[in-house]
Symmetry: C2
Subunit: 200 residues, 2 copies
């Protein structure tokens, strides 16, 4: 049984979706640890209620590498195989990325490489695209640049606001994040250049 580690800073609705699929047996893995850099993160409370092991590691005032080493130590201590970022509002240092090479997933609410960074849904609306979506990618040392495991597309409607578009994308996030976790846990993919393809 592989171990998943979750990093979150807020509500962690993607964490909840993954946890539901773990409980339902759709993801054949265990959530070994949920870490937050914010003590008040609602996702931490949800994890507690689910009986999961949680850890608040304060980031305030710590250098990035020092902080990341603490988190890495906690994840390694819990024998985590796959790290899932679920609204973790910090950029990982190379120290972190190299500790779990090719074993960190992130989800971004846009069709990368379009609209990386913050406020992706607003960026998409402002640009005037007719379709947007979300992307699960392997985390590398860049910002939203790693190989893409899964994407999903949603239409952008004339009457959309950031809220309505975000809600439409979020429903797809909850679906594809678990799909991507399954692919990783079941070791079903390989990477060719930047392309993530199913093993034959």
């Amino acid at each position: 049984m592989k171990n998943i580690g979750i990093l979150l800073s807020g509500r962690g609705s993607n964490f909840e979706a993954i946890a539901r699929n773990v409980s339902a047996g759709k993801i054949q893995a265990k959530i070994a640890l949920v870490v937050s850099n914010r003590g008040q993160a609602p996702g931490l409370e949800t994890a507690c209620k689910m009986g999961l092991r949680t850890l608040f590691i304060a980031s305030k005032g710590k250098e990035r590498e020092v902080y990341d080493q603490e988190v890495v130590a906690a994840l390694k201590g819990a024998q985590v195989d796959l790290v899932c970022l679920a609204g973790f509002m910090r950029i990982l240092s190379p120290v972190f990325v190299r500790a779990f090479p090719g074993r960190i997933l992130n989800i971004h609410p846009a069709l990368l490489p379009a609209f990386p960074g913050l406020d992706a849904q607003k960026q998409a609306l402002d640009y005037g695209v007719k379709f947007s979506g979300c992307t699960v990618h392997i985390v590398d040392e860049g910002m939203d640049t790693g190989p893409i495991v899964r994407q999903a597309v949603v239409p952008v409607l004339d009457e959309d606001t950031v809220e309505t578009l975000s809600a439409r994308i979020l429903a797809e996030e909850h679906r594809i994040y678990s799909e991507a976790v399954c692919l990783m846990i079941e070791d079903k993919i390989r990477i060719e250049g930047r392309r993530v393809v199913l093993k034959k």
Copy 2:
């Protein structure tokens, strides 16, 4: 009846798709002029066979503004209301763009703003996106940057090559370019910021 002007450099398969929809009465307009910067462009021959007015204006050795003024004069002479770029392998100068403000359409074989410029399908494959597509946009003075009128999405498959992906995208190009032409010809859209929305 509005007049359409077509600019092409090669086969002009998007021109053919538009011409078929004009013939079928799906686009209520007339193709008043087909211009090529290459005398050998197969699209020019196709246009001739269709009985359309064609014009070869050689670009070789001419300064961009001089060339563009010649083309603009020809289009104005044919009383063109809407200019459609259909594989016209030249960047339009501000002289051209300002002569038909908001009245020039282009099609790009990617979901802009992702993968602008040349070899968009190869860019998409190399990046490893799971969905790509095409974009019809109003031409402004940037490169593939104008407001988006229509987009279409296609999946990118593990076994795709540039050829198979391009073919899948091209089928959608043929569909959405005519849709966008209709919206423009029938004056059904307005632009809010960068967003192209249907008039109420």
